[in-house]
Amino acid sequence: MSGGTYTAGDGGKDGPMQIDDETLMALADGELDPARAEELRRAIAADPELQSRLHRFQETRRLLSGLRADPKGEDPLAAMIRRSATAAPTRIVPSPTASHAAGPRPVLPSGGTPLTAPARAPRRPANLNRRPWLAAAASAAIVAIGLGWWEWADAPAPRDFSPAELAALDALPSGQVQASDDGGELAMIASFRGLDGALCREYETAQRAVLACREAAGWTLRHAAVPEAAGQDYRPASGQGSMDDAIAAIGATAPLTPEEEAAALRE
């Protein structure tokens, strides 16, 4: 391949023994500009020791290129990619080979049943159920967030709660989905009791996953994470730690049952 024009080495002083390993390697890798490469080749031609040092770099490259084997037949993902090209621009297409195969949304059960995981200490409920929903929801979020070419900056998360989010926090039973302000959807995941007795709720929108707790002054943001890309996972918008950590931090033990949640929401 055509390399860059990296100009390594010691410039004017071209005594053969001054040529370092990195310069020899750059020559073997075609990374030197032509003039410098030619100059080096002349020096190397007159010096068996340089030849032998260069040989190690040439030979390792040649041998490793053998690992670049020709593919046998078309890759199983090729058909999926072609389908995506003809589908909506940012649609994420599920594939049977994916361990996280995404299904059509929504898959959160309706009817106010919290998506409780088996009784385990603080734990994100519905971990398995949420992924497919995310995969679909995130496709919308990705457009907004985007990924700069070499720049994977975190998307800024909204600081507080939108009216729709507040309404959902106040009334939406866990396991249910409602329309959010931006035309997307908000899925209520679960409710918890903090150690101090405060009601805390976890929900997700296309933009973020949130843990909020109800305090005297109203709903307070305890944790927010933005999808990094393509709905694979959420990454904290600020600070460290995961949603699991945040839930553990409020001292929650297990998600509230539907009855407990309903009672808490009436408080």
Binding site: M1, G3, G4, Y6, A8, D21, E22, M25, A26, D29, E31, S52, H55, R56, F57, E59, T60, R61, L63, L64, S65, G66, L67, R68, D70, P71, E74, D75, L77, A78, M80, I81, R82, S84, A85, T86, P89, T90, I92, V93, S95, T97, A98, S99, H100, A138, S139, I142, G146, L147, G148, W149, W150, W152, E228, A229, A230, Q232, D233, R235
Partner: protein, 163 residues
């Protein structure tokens, strides 16, 4: 994503599979990583600058995905490594071929290297990334690419008995 992008992505699937295997060293994890990378690439096709080569862009997506995955799996117990289980490797039906043997030696030597060295060797010598592209994929200065790569090359040549 337009059709041209799709075909370019398809053409690079073998490269993605190789790099995924080099990173994860487990076939099942490599498959997942390729799948995830392709999904992210499709979702973010619009953010790829057509003036730039697609390969390093994809490799970087894959590498970041792998790092995230590793972070999540840190507490998931010990992962078995295919290279630690010789019997899990396919038996070479034609061991007499010197080239095959050498290839196998190279694979073994690569597997024994420090992951950092293996990764940079793979990107430059197998995937033929330039030093500048490698620096961007790995988020390190080009000088670091050269010093790390040079050490890795010498370590590999030592293991392979190249003098």
């Amino acid at each position: 994503m337009d059709a041209a992008f799709a075909e370019a992505l398809i053409a690079l699937l073998p490269n993605l599979r190789r790099y995924a295997l080099s990173l994860t060293r487990r076939a099942d994890q490599a498959d997942d990583l390729v799948q995830q990378t392709v999904e992210r690439a499709i979702a973010n096709a619009g953010s790829h600058d057509p003036a730039q080569r697609l390969e390093p862009w994809l490799f970087r997506i894959m590498r970041n995905g792998f790092i995230d995955q590793t972070r999540r799996q840190r507490s998931a117990g010990v992962q078995l490594d295919v290279h630690d289980m010789p019997e899990a490797l396919p038996i070479d039906p034609t061991p007499a071929l010197e080239a095959r043997l050498m290839l196998r030696n190279v694979e073994t030597a690569m597997a024994e290297l420090h992951p950092e060295q293996r990764e940079i060797l793979h990107l430059v010598c197998v995937e033929e990334m330039t030093y500048a592209e490698t620096a961007r994929i790995l988020d390190i200065p080009i000088g670091t690419v050269m010093s790390r790569l040079s050490r890795a090359r010498l370590a590999l040549s030592e293991r392979l008995g190249i003098t």
